[in-house]
Symmetry: D2
Subunit: 388 residues, 4 copies
C-alpha cells in the first residue's frame, strides 16, 4: 500500500462544456476510484471555465481562465491541496504549450495525442520533460485494451515467430460529407490546419494505427510510401490515406486510414503475421482476438480468461464476457500513469505495469510518422524514412 | 441544474476485499462523476470492513461492522455529511434485511438482484418501501444497455408488430466442474441454498433472462413449464434449466440458462419476433443489435448512432464504435437512480429517463419466476403460473 | 475401382417444372459425375412429365405419367439400360407408396424426408425394405456437411466428455404471413394436413433438427414436452414449436423450430455441451464450427483443413475457404448412397463412408418425433416418450 | 428453348489425376445438367490421360495424349459427336498454346486464369480469338458469386454514389513454409517462374483481387505502386505483395495479396466506398454482403432474397440460407458461357446474362496488372501505369 493514502489529484486543461474527449478523460480517471479532479482550465473564457467546473462540482476558485493561470495558482497552493498532475485535452495546437507550462511548474503531465503540433515541438518537449524530471504520458488509448497487451506479449515471447507482415487499418466515415461547414466542433478543428497540424485523417487517426502497430509488434516503421487525399471538395487536409510500410528487420505492411469510408464507425483493426502464427484484432469488438496458426485451428482469445498472461489480466476489471470497452481501455492508461505518479511520490520503484503507458518517445514517433506521410505523399509516394 | 449542487453520497453494504460485484457497483457509481462513496459496512468483520474502506480512501469512522450500525450512525450524522442512499451488494440472503433496515432508517436503496431470498420477502419488502416513501432500485443491469432500450422502444412503438415468439438464453460454463469445492467464493455462495435461495442457476442468471425478456417485450410471462437439473454430482442447486414460456397476449417462447455449458462465458442473448419484424441481441457484443424484417435486408443497429431513439441515445457516453460495455450499462442504472434521488431531493418531478431502472415490482417478478420454475420442475414440468 | 465401370443410373419420382427439391436432388446427383438421370415420373400429368423430362434432355419414352408406370416399364428394360435406383422428391404423402412400389419392383430407393406420412407407414416401410433386400436412403441432407461429421466424431471419441446439454434450433420466417393463400406451391402443400402430415413446421424442419441432434450426439431422445402453435390465423398446422428434450443417458436439451420467426432464413443450428467441451454449428455458415473448452480458448474449425478427421475430409471437395454449401452437403448423401449401390452391384463390402447416410431407422425416428410432439402438445406439453 | 436440344459437349486440356482445378471445373460444369464432358487431353502422358479419362467414364479413344492430338481428332469427328468447346485447366504456361490450338481448330475456349504466360501473349491471343470468330471465356470465378453481381449493379446504378475508395485483399497462408520442397504439386508449379510466369502470389491470386475490384466498380486501375516480397528463403517468386492503387476518375485504393499470412485460408475480400454508401464482401462467407450508408444502419444482404436484383437472382440456385459456395459461383461462369455457346449455335442473340463472364479483355488486364506490379516493385514502388 502506498504511503500516499489519498486519491491522486489532477487538473484538466480543456474539456469544457461541449467537448468530447474531456468527458472521456474524466470517466477514464473516475473508473478506478483512485483519482480526483480538483481543478481545471476548461476554457479560455473564464466564465465558461467556471460554469464547466460547476457542472463537475468544482469550486469557482479552482476553475481557471487559462492554463498559465492554473499552473501559477496551483503551484502556489499548499501541498495537501495542490493537484498532482495535469491532463491536457485541448485541440492539438495547445498540447505543447500547456505541457510545457505544466512541466515547468512542476506538474506531471498526461496529454491527449498527438503530443504536439509538429515533430520539432515534440523533440523540444522531450528535452523539457527530461529537464523537469516529471512524468509525461500520452493517451494513445487503444494500447490500453487487454487483448492488445496479450498480442504484444505473444509477439515478444516469440510465439508467432519472426514478424513478416502487418496490416493496420483505421476507417471511419463521419467526414464523408463536409461536416465542418455545419457547427460540428469536432469536425471543425480537425479539418483546420491551424489547429490540427500538417495532416487531417493521418494525424487524427493514422497515428493511432501507427502507434498500435509499433506497440504490438515492437518493431519500428523504417520507411513508408504514402498516397493521401482530400476527397471532400474544399477540405484543406487529407481525409484518407493509403501507406505502404517497411519495418526494421524486414517486415512489410500496409496502413490505411480514412474518414470518408461511408458507414465505418471507428473501425481500428490490426493483423500481424509471423512465421509461426498471426493475430487479428478489431477495436469494434475489442474483447475478441483471433489467433491463427500454421496447422492448427484458429483460436478465439477473449478478455479476462484464465489463459491470458499477466499483463492482459491486470488490464481488465470484470470476468469474461462482461464486455469492457473504450472507456476501460482509456482508464488503463490513467490507472498505470496514476500508479507511476504514486510510486514517484512514495519514492519507490514503480511496478512494471505502472510504466506501461505511452510516453514522449511514442509522441515523437507519431509526429515523425505524420511528417513522413505528408512528405512522401507530396513526393508522389516516394519512400520516406521516419527520422525519429 | 439541481438545487442540490453536490455529488450524491452513498454507502455500501457488502463489497469488501475479494468481492466481485461490489467493485462493479463502485465503478458504475464512479463513471459519471455524480456520486461519492462515503461509507460502508463492507464486511461483518469490523476490522475487515475498515481495511476494505481504507483501500477506498474512507476514514475508519465511516466503515461499519454491520449494516445495522451503519444505518444507525449514518442517520445520526448531520444532513450535509450523511449518505443519501445505500447500495446493497451482499450475497442474496442479506438483501432483504439490509434493505429493510436502510429504508426504515430513511435511506433510499439500490440493491443488487435478486431483491430478496424468496417471494414472500419480496412482497413484504414492497410494503416496506411503500411505507417508507423512499426510492428502491434493483440492479438488473442488463436493461441498462443502450440497444436494449432501443429494442424496448421498437416493440412499444409497434414497429415489430404484435409479438409472437421470444427466445432468451443465458449460458455460462464456469460451474461445469465442482468449483465450489475450491476456495472460489463466488461459486461457494451461489451453490449454497442457505445463501442463494431456492434456485442456483435459475436464480443467479435465469432471473436476468426473465427480466430482460419482460423489459424488452413489455409482456408478462403468464405461465411456464420448466425442467431444471443439477448436472455436477453433489451440487445442491440446479446448474441448468430449460423452460417453455407463455406470455400474456399469446406470445410463446423458450428460456434456458446454464452454468455447465462449457466454454460459454456470459452469453445472455435475446431474440424477439413480431408479426412484422424481429430483433436479436447478444450481451457478449452489446453494441450491435440485429433488426430483421419480413421482406427487407436485416439491419445492424449499433450503439450511439444518430438513427437511434432518445432513450438509447441518453444511455451512451461515446460516439459510435467506441465500444461501451457491462460497466457502462451498469452505470446507467446508477445514473438514472441518482437522477431520481436528486429530483426527490429537489422536490421536482424526475425526467422520464430518471425513473427507468428496475424496481421492487421487477424484483417480485424475479422471485415469482424462480418459485414457479422450481415448482414446475418439481411437478415434472407442469405448466405453472407466475403468481405475482 | 468398381467392376461396374459406368455411371450409376437413377430415375426420379416428382421434381417436375416448378418444383424446388427435385432440382436440388439433380444438382446433388450431378456434382460428382458418378450418376446419370435416365428417367422420371416427374408429374402425375403425363404431358407435364414429358415436358419436364425434355428440359433435362431425357427422351419421351423414359418420362412416365406415374410412378407405377415407371416401375413397371423400367423393370422391363434390359439391365444395361434400366435405372439402378429411384429418387423420390414428391410431397410427403407420396413418399411411402412410391418407395414401396420401387422396392417391390427391385429398385434401391433414395427418398426425400420425411420417410412417410405417419409413423405406422414408416414401420411398415421398414418391413418392405428388409423383405426387398434393397438399399433405402433418406436425404436428411444436413448430416452431409463435413463439420457435422467432425462433430459426430468428436462426440463419439469422447473429446467433449459425457454429453449434458443439447440446444438445436431451426428458425425460418418465410411463413410469417399466410403465404399459402398466394400461389406459392411450396407453402401450399406444407401447410395442408392431407399432403404434409400431422405436423407443419415440426414435420418439415423440426425433424431435421431432431435428426441432426441425434446424429451428432449419438444419443436418442427418450421423451419430450412440446408446445406447438399455429400463429398465422387460419393455418391448419403448426408454424412454430418449442420442445423440452430428455435424452437417453441423462442429457437434456431444447429444440425449437419456427416458420414465423421473421427475418430468419434457414438458420438450423446446433450446440452440444459435454463435461469437457462443446461445439456450435450454424447451417448458415456451414464451413465454420466453434469448439469450446473448459480452460482453453475457443477454436474455430473450418472445413477442409488438415486437422480434421477422415470423415470430414472425405466429405469436402475443395481446399479450405473455398466455401462448400447446401448442395455439396446434399451431394454427400448421394455420393455415399451411390457408392453403396456400386458396392452392392460389385458384390463387395462397402467402405465405411459408403454407408454413412440416413436410413429407414432415421425415418422412423423422425416420424416418432413428429407424433410425440403432436401428442405432447395436445396434452398441454406432457412428457411423451418416443415410441420408436 | 434452344433448338439445340442436347447437352453441350466439352473436352478438357489438363485436369488429370491429382490435379485440383480440373476437378473443380468438372463439378462446375456438372451442376446445372447442361454440359457433358466427352473427351480430354488430361495429361501429356498418354496412358495417364486414358487412366484419368477412365475414372470419368470416358472411352479410351476420346482420351488424348496432347492437346494438339485432341484438336485434330475432335475436329475430324462428325458434328453430332464432336465437342463444342474446350476447357483449359493446365498450369499457366500451357494456357496460350492450348487456347490457340483450340480456337484455330474451330472450338470455343473456356480457360482457367491467367489467360496467358505474359502480356504479349495475351494481346496476341486477343487477335487469334477475333480472327477465329469463336467464344473465349476466362474463369475468374469469384465474379460468379450472386452478391458480387449485386454489388456491381449497385455501383453501376449509382446507389453508392461516385466511388472514392477501394480496398481489396487476398490473404492466404498455405505457402508460409517452403511447401514446394515437399511433393506438393500445386505449390511446385506456382512457385516456379517457368510455369507460373513473372509473378507468384500476385499472378496466382493478386489477379483475382484486381479482377474483382474492376468488375465490381466498373473502374479501371490507371496506375499502381507495388512492393512485393519473397519472404520464404530460397523462393524465386513473390509470396506477398502490397499495392497502392489509383483508378480512372480519381478513386484510390489498396490491394494486398499474400501466401504467407499464416492461418488465412482463402480470404479474398472487397470493400468499396462511394460518396453515399459502401459495400463489404468476404469470399469466406460469400452469401453475406454488408451494405453501408451515410446515416442509416448497415444492411446485411444475403443471397437469394427477394430484394436482390435480377442478376444476383439468376446466379443462385436455392432459397435464402441454403448456402451456395465456390463451386456454384464457378458453375455460374460455366452456365453463362454454355448459354452463350448455345445461343451462337442457335444463331440467336444471347441473353444479357449469357455474356456475363470474363473474356480476353479481362485476361489482358490481368497480365498488364502482373507486369505493372513487377515493374513497379523493381523500381522501388514507383507509380506505374497499366498499359492495357
Amino acid at each position: 500500500m502506498s504511503a500516499f493514502k489519498r486519491k491522486i489529484r489532477f487538473g484538466m486543461v480543456g474539456g469544457g462544456r461541449g467537448a468530447f474527449i474531456g468527458a472521456v478523460h474524466r470517466i477514464a480517471a473516475g473508473i478506478d476510484g483512485q483519482l480526483e479532479l480538483v481543478c481545471g482550465a476548461f476554457s479560455s473564457d473564464p466564465q465558461r471555465s467556471k460554469d464547466s467546473g460547476a457542472d463537475l462540482f468544482l469550486p469557482p476558485d479552482r476553475c481557471y481562465g487559462s492554463f498559465e493561470e492554473m499552473m501559477e495558482k496551483e503551484a502556489a497552493l499548499p501541498e495537501d491541496q495542490r493537484m498532482d498532475f495535469v491532463a491536457i485535452v485541448t485541440p492539438n495546437h495547445v498540447h505543447f504549450p500547456a505541457a510545457k507550462a505544466a512541466l515547468e511548474a512542476g506538474f506531471h503531465v498526461l496529454s491527449d495525442k498527438p503530443a504536439t503540433f509538429d515533430l520539432a515541438e515534440a523533440k523540444e518537449l522531450k528535452g523539457i520533460i527530461e529537464k523537469s524530471g516529471k512524468l509525461y504520458g500520452l493517451t494513445h488509448n487503444y494500447t490500453g485494451y487487454p487483448l492488445i497487451k496479450e498480442a504484444r506479449d505473444m509477439v515478444a515471447s516469440g510465439k508467432l515467430g519472426k514478424i513478416r507482415k502487418v496490416v493496420v487499418e483505421y476507417p471511419q466515415g463521419w467526414l464523408a460529407t463536409k461536416l465542418e461547414d455545419s457547427d460540428q466542433k469536432q469536425a471543425a478543428w480537425r479539418t483546420d490546419p491551424k489547429r490540427s497540424g500538417a495532416a487531417g485523417c493521418i494525424g487524427d487517426i493514422g497515428t493511432h494505427a501507427e502507434n498500435l502497430a509499433e506497440y504490438v509488434t515492437g518493431l519500428k516503421i523504417s520507411e513508408l510510401a504514402a498516397d493521401i487525399t482530400a476527397f471532400v471538395p474544399g477540405r484543406a487536409l487529407d481525409d484518407d490515406g493509403n501507406v505502404l510500410l517497411r519495418f526494421e528487420g524486414g517486415a512489410k505492411g500496409v496502413l490505411h486510414a480514412s474518414q470518408i469510408s461511408v458507414g465505418e464507425e471507428n473501425n481500428l483493426n490490426l493483423r500481424v503475421y509471423g512465421e509461426k502464427g498471426g493475430i487479428e484484432w478489431h477495436q469494434n469488438e475489442p474483447n475478441t482476438m483471433l489467433v491463427k496458426w500454421l496447422d492448427q485451428p484458429m483460436q478465439v482469445y477473449r478478455t479476462a480468461n484464465g489463459y491470458l498472461g499477466a499483463n492482459a489480466a491486470s488490464a481488465s476489471r470484470t470476468p469474461p464476457s462482461h464486455p469492457e470497452g473504450y472507456l476501460e481501455a482509456f482508464a488503463n492508461i490513467y490507472k498505470n500513469f496514476a500508479n507511476h505518479v504514486r510510486a514517484v511520490a512514495d519514492g519507490v520503484e514503480p511496478e512494471e505495469t505502472a510504466t506501461d503507458y505511452p510516453k514522449i518517445d511514442d509522441g515523437i514517433r507519431g509526429m515523425a510518422f505524420i511528417e513522413a506521410v505528408v512528405a512522401s505523399s507530396n513526393a508522389n509516394a516516394a519512400w520516406t524514412s521516419l527520422d525519429a
